[in-house]
């Protein structure tokens, strides 16, 4: 009896939390920013997704932990949670009518209230909002009560619809280049988001596919291929990806190429930081320093302005810039060899900021241009061919990534790579085993600085100018986030992290203001729920033993996927 009554308290708590999160997301402006980004044209927008998902999610959690097995009680629990979430929103809106909260909370606009009350006038709107929250709660509970297979299919279907709707602009741009094939797909999309029939078709197809695949999995059909086939498949896959990657700029045009250039530079630097943080376990928060050093050295060497010194071309300046960056990496690395963990992080942060402040000051203005920076930086040339636009520079960046990726892959399992990992696991033991701490750590800093410097060079040549504002602490956080989200020490993780964290906010301009909010939330969420990252390094080991560990592997994977585990509270 006592557990039951305490459970109702828990339910109320969940409802209030759901409503609180929904209100917070609305008040920071996420909902309104997406108010006209339709997922399904005319039906619902991404703004509503942000406003209400928390309520749905909390009801799901409520039901999941409910002690009662009675279906009706569970639905009631879900409904109550949802209703309470709605009550929070209603109270907030009512309060706004009495006192003008907007003078403090700038996003509490009439637009937000219209969004939350479904464009109705106030009183019926609030009632509908309450009813809708109740409905969401019941739906959340209902979702939990469905068999796993159906639930998975429905959730995947909804998720796919949301993703396709959200990226409608990009998809339509790409599809329009496909000649007459485009008419087979264009009808799926509307002016904004998916069209209604399109959404239904996408949902049904995806849900059916997932349902069918889940069914096959449960029958445990294990396809075994011999190693040769596997290798062929792998190289075939790599070949397809390579051709796709090479063809991207002409497919996407200059606007999207510019985005991919930025993503590429971040991936390149991510690969470098992955060596320092992921392989060697040295948390470096001042990684931007080497980026700045690379960019500024390159700028000073190649600019045609008066502040420049040598006025050399791209190919002569790049090695010099890289040498300077590596030298800086070693010089900064030497004094901090003895520090570990959080102190190391803070010292490197300090270095990064010192570099930025010094560059910005009047003191070095004659050389580095102060706050005006350096303009007219050289672009790469081969013979008479100039890499003078974003589509051409893309290939230079790809070459950079290939070099960095190749070095990373080769280093990972080398003697040096294993020394790094030994140092990461236990510094004292590693040293006792005969690993030279000084050299090993310095090499990690040097490699990191090398790629960061290269990133700086490419950045400088891409923008054509460098300003101290481009080298703030937030860049370091950006790169750190992408390797942590991707999975520390995992090379594919860097690519996934780069595309997800740098690519998505650039593709969806509405996200621009919320980029760092999402980074921060993602970092916290990842550390709480899945500290190994999206593409964890350890997975590779599991893959090697797929036949043996088939069943436990599958189990852990499905357990991790259930939202209950993701709740993590």
């Amino acid at each position: 009896m006592k557990t039951e009554s305490s459970y109702w308290v828990k339910t109320i708590q969940n409802g209030l939390i759901g409503g609180g999160i929904a209100l917070l997301l609305s008040l920071i402006g996420l909902s309104v920013a997406f108010k006209s980004t339709y997922i399904i044209n005319g039906i619902f927008t991404m703004g509503q997704v942000f406003a209400f998902t928390a309520i749905l999610f909390e009801s799901y959690i409520s039901v999941q932990k409910a002690p009662s097995k009675n279906t009706l009680t569970r639905l009631a629990i879900g409904g109550l949670t949802g209703l309470l979430g709605g009550v929070i929103l209603v109270i907030a809106i009512a309060l706004q009518q009495v006192v003008n909260l907007r003078s403090v909370l700038i996003n509490f606009s009439p637009d937000l209230i219209k969004l939350l009350t479904f464009n109705l006038s106030l009183t019926p709107g609030l009632l509908v909002l309450l009813g809708f929250s109740l409905l969401l709660g019941v739906i959340g509970a209902g979702l939990y009560l469905l068999p796993v297979r159906i639930r998975g299919a429905i959730l995947q279907g909804i998720l796919t619809v949301i993703v396709l709707g959200l990226f409608r602009d990009l998809l339509v741009t790409v599809i329009n280049l496909w000649g007459f094939v485009k008419y087979a797909f264009l009808w799926l999309f509307a002016q904004s988001g998916l069209s209604i029939p399109g959404a239904i078709v996408v949902f049904v197809v995806v849900a059916a596919l997932v349902f069918w695949r889940k069914g096959r999995e449960s029958k445990k059909v294990v396809i075994t291929r011999n190693p040769r086939q596997q290798r062929m498949l792998r190289w075939g896959g790599i070949g397809v990806v390579a051709i796709f990657v090479l063809l991207l700029p002409p497919i996407l045009g200059s606007y999207f190429s510019e985005i991919f250039d930025q993503v590429g530079i971040y991936i390149l630097m991510g690969l470098g930081l992955n060596i320092v943080v992921g392989f060697a376990g040295l948390l470096d928060l001042g990684y931007v320093a080497f980026y700045a050093i690379g960019a500024y050295t390159f700028g000073v060497l190649t600019t045609s302005e008066a502040v420049g010194i040598l006025h050399v071309n791209f190919w002569a300046a790049t090695p010099i810039a890289l040498i300077v960056a590596v030298f800086a990496g070693v010089v900064l690395g030497l004094p901090i060899l003895r520090l570990r963990g959080d102190y190391l992080a803070i010292v490197t942060l300090g270095f990064g900021e010192i570099i930025r402040i010094v560059v910005l000051s009047d003191w070095l203005k004659p050389i580095l241009g102060g706050s005006e920076g350096i303009q007219r930086i050289a672009q790469p040339t081969i013979g008479s061919f100039i890499f003078n636009n974003q589509q051409k520079l893309y290939y230079i960046i790809i070459v950079g990534i290939l070099i960095a990726g190749f070095i990373s892959v080769r280093l990972k399992d080398s003697h040096l790579g294993r020394s790094w990992m030994a140092l990461r696991e236990d510094e004292d033991v590693a040293e006792a085993m005969g690993i030279n701490k000084v050299i090993t750590k310095l090499l990690a800093f040097a490699m990191g600085a090398l790629f960061s410097g290269l990133g700086g060079v490419l950045f400088a040549t891409k923008i054509g100018s460098v300003y101290p504002q481009s080298f703030s602490f937030i860049v370091s956080i950006n790169i750190l986030s992408l390797i942590i989200i991707g999975g520390m020490g995992s090379i594919p993780g860097v690519f996934i992290g780069g595309l997800a964290l740098v690519g998505l906010p650039l593709l969806l301009s509405q996200f621009a203001d919320y980029r760092y909010l999402i980074y921060g939330a993602a970092l916290v969420f990842m550390m709480l729920v899945r500290p190994e990252g999206l593409s964890p390094e350890a997975r590779r080991r599991l893959e090697l033993h797929e036949e043996i560990e088939e069943i436990p592997h599958e189990e852990t994977a499905t357990i991790l996927k259930t939202p209950g585990e993701l709740g993590g509270r």
């Binding site: 917070l24 008040l27 920071i28 402006g29 996420l30 003078s103 403090v104 909370l105 700038i106 996003n107 376990g281 948390l283 928060l285 030497l334 004094p335 901090i336 060899l337 003895r338 520090l339 570990r340 963990g341 959080d342 102190y343 992080a345 803070i346 010292v347 942060l349 300090g350 270095f351 900021e353 010192i354 402040i357 010094v358 910005l360 000051s361 009047d362 003191w363 000084v438 602490f473 956080i477 750190l480 986030s481 942590i484 203001d513 919320y514 760092y516 909010l517 980074y519 921060g520 939330a521 993602a522 970092l523 916290v524 990842m526 550390m527 709480l528 500290p531 993590g568 509270r569």
Partner: protein
């Protein structure tokens, strides 16, 4: 004997000492040549010193949050700078409201107290929520995990407040009773600076008293000494940790109001530099050590306000005050390299550093 000495002194050590000595040399040389040039009069040095003391007092209140949390959880609460920001950034609306209605001019002391309470309450709330959501589930995780969480939380909070209140800056209204300056043994001192110094000292005494002389303070010290043993002795460790965060938050919120008396502009990114500097001060004094945080803060405040003019003018560096933040960071780097235990710290061995 000679061999062990040679083994002990590595190339790295020599390199570090060369850096240290050359920085010391530059500082001494800069100081001497600045004093020889005699560009600043004695009273302007005193002026800078008082400014530095006021600044140091504010840093001390922020540093309390870092040092107490570090003392108990052995983690750097990187998001503390946002705890500091949240209070004054929220209380500015109260202050603006009071200023509009004229209450601020009629009852400056009462309104200042209300503003301070609001600020402290918001900061406390944020600190406690932060502990509950972000840090408590990770208490037994490897050391880097909570640090990364803290960095994430820091950015999350910054941009949540940006979303809530907007990306612009707000100015605190001027308080009339603080506007004049008083002459104090022949030196003119701003009343705000006196108020900040007094406020900081009172707060430090209160905080020190709580930690040293109350039962809950005793429990805090016990938890910081040994969590398991404290738990066995009947101390509710979770409650003590929440209390520590709350105390750090309240102190940061009050420090935030004192900060706005010195620099009356608030925005969502205002926390970063004071936060890092307060952390530097906490490390400088010996992290985990309450009097150390105070001492470190005063030293850092003085270095930051007197330092650029004293050390750099003589070297012929134009507009040296642009580099005041760099000085704080150089102090941070040097102290972590040469004496990570800080001035008063002795308990932290190398494996904790």
């Amino acid at each position: 004997m000679l061999r062990t000495l040679r083994q002990r002194i590595t190339l790295t050590d020599i390199f570090i000492w060369v850096i240290g000595l050359s920085i010391a040399g530059i500082v001494i040389w800069g100081t001497i040549s600045t004093l020889q040039q005699g560009r600043y009069s004695g009273s302007s040095w005193l002026d800078l010193t008082i400014k530095g003391l006021a600044l140091g007092g504010v840093y001390a209140l922020i540093a309390m949050g870092y040092t107490m949390v570090y003392g108990i959880l052995k983690m750097i609460n990187f998001a503390h700078s946002e705890v500091f920001m949240s209070g004054p950034f929220t209380a500015v609306f109260v202050a603006l409201g009071f200023s509009k209605s004229g209450f601020l001019d009629r009852q400056p002391v009462i309104s200042l107290i209300i503003i301070t309470i609001v600020s402290a309450a918001v900061s406390t709330l944020i600190a406690v929520l932060l502990e509950r959501i972000a840090y408590r589930p990770l208490r037994s995780a490897p050391r880097l995990v909570p640090l990364i969480t803290a960095i994430g939380a820091s950015f999350f909070l910054q941009y949540v407040f940006r979303g809530l209140y907007g990306s612009g800056s707000y100015g605190y209204p001027a308080i009339k009773i603080f506007e004049q300056s008083v002459t104090f043994a022949g030196i003119q001192v701003h009343k705000t600076q006196i108020a900040v110094i007094i406020g900081a000292i009172v707060m430090m005494v209160v905080l020190y008293g709580i930690v040293q002389w109350t039962k809950i303070g005793k429990a805090m010290r016990a938890v910081s000494e040994d969590k398991e043993a404290a738990e066995l002795m009947g101390i509710n460790v979770d409650r003590i940790i929440v209390f520590t965060f709350a105390m750090g938050g309240a102190s940061a919120g009050i420090g935030g109001i004192l900060y706005t008396l010195l620099f009356p502009v608030v925005n969502f990114y205002m926390g970063f530099f004071p936060g890092i500097k307060a952390f530097t001060a906490a490390v400088l004094g010996g992290i985990g050590n309450v009097p150390g945080a105070f001492l470190g803060s005063i030293i850092l405040g003085l270095l930051e306000s007197v330092g650029p003019n004293l050390f750099l003018t003589g070297l012929g560096i134009p507009s040296p005050s642009q580099l005041k933040d760099a000085i704080a960071f150089v102090v941070l780097v040097l102290i972590l390299i040469f004496r990570p235990t800080g001035i008063l710290g002795e308990r932290i061995s190398q494996d904790k550093a």
